[in-house]
């Protein structure tokens, strides 16, 4: 069992409600820093909802409610006095459908540094570093002033990853980041995740079992709002303990 200090994301008995509908049932999980964790499960199992509780993105949906505890860096993020701005700076997010802002490539990356009041003289360096880490620099370095919407779908998603990296998060949440991309762009994103997991704690929701097996160290299987099984990816995919996990992985349902 991992100790208190080696946990970066920890939930205890987390329940989540959309109005009267309970979407998460007592999720308790302990995610260690510097690892990539894949959340898998059939549609509607709550994996995306769970992901969005970790940076409080569900707050913006009317009528939602959280019970239980969520600790990021040993800090309960649902306590009254938490600074959501600081939380979201620490916990970056990449969405299923890439959402570049209709601004220049440069301004997309500089958006985070701007709102957090970073020193203006650092923007050039941050933009370059973020784009390099997202594997996009060589493709766009000569047209940083061009509109981000002119990039291809795969490039747009890597831009969104770069944008998230620009505020120096410790955790990166990825909600099916490659599900809307062609196989080649998907492969690039997966390579990128493999590089990023050296530096960031990554939690990725995916529908794609092979993807989970390829990019993650740990895998959590969700079913009907419950965390059925959580363990090393290798173990989950070769010797799952629960029958439900095995059925899902071998394609018997979902």
């Amino acid at each position: 069992m991992v100790g208190e200090n080696s946990s970066i994301v920890k939930t205890i008995n987390l329940d989540f409600y959309y109005g009267a509908v309970k979407a998460l049932h007592g999720i308790s999980i302990n995610i260690t820093p510097g690892q990539a964790t894949a959340l898998i499960g059939p549609s509607g199992c709550g994996k995306s909802t769970f992901l969005r509780t970790l940076n409080r993105m569900n707050d913006i949906i009317d009528g939602t409610r959280v019970e239980g505890e969520v600790y990021i860096d040993n800090q309960d993020i649902y306590r009254g006095d938490i600074d959501v701005v600081a939380l979201r700076r620490k916990v970056g997010m990449v969405f299923q459908k890439s959402n570049p802002f209709p601004k220049s490539i440069f301004e997309n990356i500089a958006y985070g540094p701007r709102i957090h009041g970073f020193d203006k003289s650092s923007y050039n360096e941050i933009v370059e570093r973020s784009l390099i880490r997202a594997g996009l620099w060589n493709e766009v370095k000569d047209r940083l002033d061009k509109n981000a919407l002119d990039l291809s779908g795969g490039q747009q998603q890597r831009l969104c990853i770069a944008r998230a990296l620009a505020v120096d998060p410790r955790i990166l949440l990825m909600d099916e980041p490659a599900s809307a991309l062609d196989p080649k762009s998907t492969a690039r994103i997966e390579d990128l995740i493999a590089e990023l997991r050296e530096r960031y704690t990554i939690i990725i929701v995916t529908h794609n079992m092979q993807q989970a097996a390829r990019v993650s160290d740990f895998t959590a299987f969700f079913y009907e709002g419950e965390l059925v099984e959580f363990g090393a990816t290798k173990q989950i995919f070769t010797k799952p303990i629960k029958k439900q996990t095995e059925d899902y992985i071998t394609g018997r349902f979902g």
């Binding site: 701005v85 969405f95 959402n99 709102i115």
Partner: protein, 283 residues
């Protein structure tokens, strides 16, 4: 095949209905232009009226309408845009918001003469503004507020939710998100819808009748507490209050042409503006 024939005839019925509507508009504009253009002269546009408006120019009425439009914009635009931002971005959907929306729709349906009486009661008498540009602008602003709110809200709703989420996820606050990642893309749409509403205000007679418009005042106003002449009311006076209406026919047409040109000009500006901005943002 009877189905085919029906298709063709429906197609033609629709087409004829549309064309006849165009024809009506064209007839009105051409008729006014035809009879009005001979009256238009430098003296007519920049001169002061004489003999109760039977002779001379219409400068005070043009100036009055422009001042009223400006005053209306200054009052209604910030209020309307702020309400739209509140409703679209901040208000939670619930019973209270529902009633606000209901009130706005109801407000849009209130006849303009009722706004006139309301303005008379509240601004002119109760708040002791007297018949003045201020009272008239406030009354017109109340009248077009619903239009501005509804069209501004639509412009805000047209901005994809994903852009808001993207900004919030980077740690932006709600207001930072609105200011940096919603308003820049929607402000032009908000303005366009608002200008169309303001064009309507420029042509209204009833709201200004009781709050600002002067029957005959051959001078320019000195302050916002002065009365002014206004194009729609001047037109009404020329058409109905003159001893010999036929004699002032050219003045009526000239005034109508100027009013129509003003309103169409405003609308045209709004539409061109919108088309230019639409090309800039696409998602």
């Amino acid at each position: 095949m009877p189905g085919r024939k029906l298709e063709t005839s429906i197609h033609w019925v629709m087409r004829i209905v549309t064309y006849s509507m165009l024809a009506v508009i064209a007839y009105i504009i051409i008729d006014i232009a035809w009879h009005g253009l001979p009256t238009i002269s430098w003296e007519f546009l920049t001169g002061f009226p004489r003999r109760s408006g039977a002779e001379g120019g219409i400068l005070p009425a043009i100036a009055g309408t422009l001042l009223l439009v400006t005053g209306t914009i200054i009052v209604a635009l910030p209020l309307g845009m702020a309400s739209a931002i509140y409703l679209s971005e901040y208000a939670r959907s619930g019973r209270f918001t529902y009633f606000i929306r209901l009130a706005i729709i109801t407000l849009a349906g209130v006849p303009s003469i009722v706004f006139g009486l309301f303005g008379l009661g509240l601004f002119v008498l109760f708040l002791k503004m007297g018949a003045s540009i201020l009272a008239g602008s406030l009354t017109l602003a109340c009248m077009i507020l619903p239009t501005i709110i509804v069209s501004s809200e639509e412009a805000l709703k047209a901005v994809p939710q994903a852009l808001r989420e993207g900004s919030l996820a980077l740690g932006a606050t709600k207001w930072e998100t609105i200011r940096r990642n919603v308003l820049p893309y929607s402000v032009s749409g908000m303005l366009t819808g608002s200008i169309l509403g303001i064009g309507r205000a420029a042509g209204e007679t009833a709201p200004i009748l009781l709050t600002v418009a002067a029957f005959y005042l051959p001078k320019l106003p000195r302050s916002i507490f002065d009365q002014v002449m206004a194009l729609p009311y001047h037109l009404y006076v020329l058409a109905t209050q003159m001893p010999n209406a036929d004699e002032v026919r050219p003045m009526q047409y000239g005034t109508a042409l100027v009013l129509i040109a003003l309103v169409l000009g405003l609308n045209m500006f709004a539409i061109i503006f919108r088309n230019r901005v639409r090309k800039k943002y696409r998602w």
